[in-house]
């Protein structure tokens, strides 16, 4: 029978190198950068992609020689750029929010910050994506008015079918699936954070 002091002696004996050697290799395929960094990077990458999109569309509107007749067609391109930039601002605000989480705080407070972030994110993804989709489709709808003007009905039908097909697929399949996954993940994380907060809480003395 081992008592705790024997276990402590055992713990204090080896160097980390020994332990590295004796522990079985982990499956490294699941390993990634830190949770906080990964979340920050996702927001930052999304923001960069959207800025690039806005720049490309602006460039096309200015130098694309489309010779659109109606001002609202250019207006639609500007609107898409604005939507991209507003979405960029939202992503950057989320990035800053993650960055503000203080790793040096006491564990209970640190976990509480994560819980607050996840609750915020859960609410955010509920409204942000629908609003983004609706506005983007309004802008695209305005853009299509002139683009499709005078074209053969069969071409318009094919292009609109492809466009709406993709939009419906990305909304009802890709988007919904992503939202469902993220919601489930956030819920799980929040439940687990609560469980950990519970572990840090007051404990009844054990009478022996």
């Amino acid at each position: 029978m081992a008592d705790f002091d024997a276990l402590k002696n055992m713990w204090q004996q080896p160097t980390t190198e020994n332990v590295d050697r004796i522990l079985p290799p982990a499956n490294t395929s699941h390993h990634s950068a830190g949770l906080k960094m990964k979340l920050q990077r996702e927001q930052l990458l999304g923001a960069i992609m959207l800025v690039i999109t806005a720049i490309l569309i602006s460039f096309m509107a200015l130098y694309g020689n489309f010779n659109f007749v109606h001002w609202y067609t250019y207006g639609a391109m500007v609107l898409v750029c604005i939507i991209c930039l507003v979405q960029t601002a939202i992503l950057l605000a989320t990035y800053k929010r993650i960055k503000r989480i203080d790793e040096t705080a006491l564990p209970a407070l640190h976990l509480q910050q994560w819980e607050t972030y996840y609750a915020f994110r859960k609410k955010q993804i509920r409204w942000n994506m629908p609003v983004y989709y609706i506005l983007l489709n309004i802008a695209m709808g305005i853009y299509f008015i002139e683009v499709f003007e005078g074209r053969p009905i069969i071409n318009v039908t094919i292009l609109l079918t492809i466009y709406f097909g993709w939009m419906l697929f990305s909304w009802f399949y890709l988007g919904k699936r992503k939202l469902k996954q993220e919601n489930a993940r956030l819920q799980k994380i929040m439940d687990e954070l609560k469980a950990i907060e519970g572990q840090l809480g007051l404990e009844e003395p054990i009478l022996s």
Binding site: L7, K8, Q12, Q13, A105, L106, E203, E204
Partner: protein, 163 residues
């Protein structure tokens, strides 16, 4: 001393201890290495915030504790898989020191998350006052917890009849 030198000193002084903390916490050498790296990235990013209210060791161990607690939320399933596999891989008779240590790490990783953290700090001979400052638990509550965790860990270890 510039930030780079100070950081190097901190890494040299606490790196080994933090890695053992992460290892005891996860029972997984590769994941522990990830957490060690993540901890010291956070140390580097937050060094300017250190005001000397606590000792450097308390501050760094607290970052490590936070990193572990936040990280394990995502890795829990993987860790449990590795842990179960490792226990299954243990031979029927444990004869060598290394096998005993392996079993100890695995037994620690069977404890609740915060308990792993606390007991690892206890085994590192950190004073109760410092453990309380790292974990944010009152000293009285901590003593109760430590008493229970010691008992629990010893029971888990002995349940394998290894000593």
């Amino acid at each position: 001393m510039n930030q780079q030198d100070q950081f190097t000193n901190l890494y040299n002084e606490f790196g080994e201890g933090i890695k053992k903390l992460c290892l005891g916490y996860t029972g997984d050498a590769v994941l522990a290495q990830d957490l060690l790296q993540e901890t010291f990235i956070a140390v580097w990013n937050n060094m300017q915030k250190f005001r000397g209210d606590a000792k450097w060791s308390t501050w760094i161990y607290r970052i490590a504790a936070n990193t572990c607690l936040a990280h394990l939320r995502k890795k829990k399933d993987t860790v449990m898989d590795v842990e179960n596999t490792a226990l299954a891989m243990l031979p029927d008779e444990i004869n060598t020191k290394e096998q005993e240590i392996q079993l100890l790490y695995k037994c620690i990783s069977r404890l609740a998350e915060t308990d792993r953290l606390i007991i690892t700090l206890v085994m590192e001979d950190k004073p109760y006052e410092e453990i309380a400052a790292i974990t944010g638990i009152t000293e009285n509550n901590l003593r109760v917890k430590i008493y229970r965790i010691k008992k629990q860990l010893t029971e888990i270890y002995n349940s394998y009849g290894r000593l």
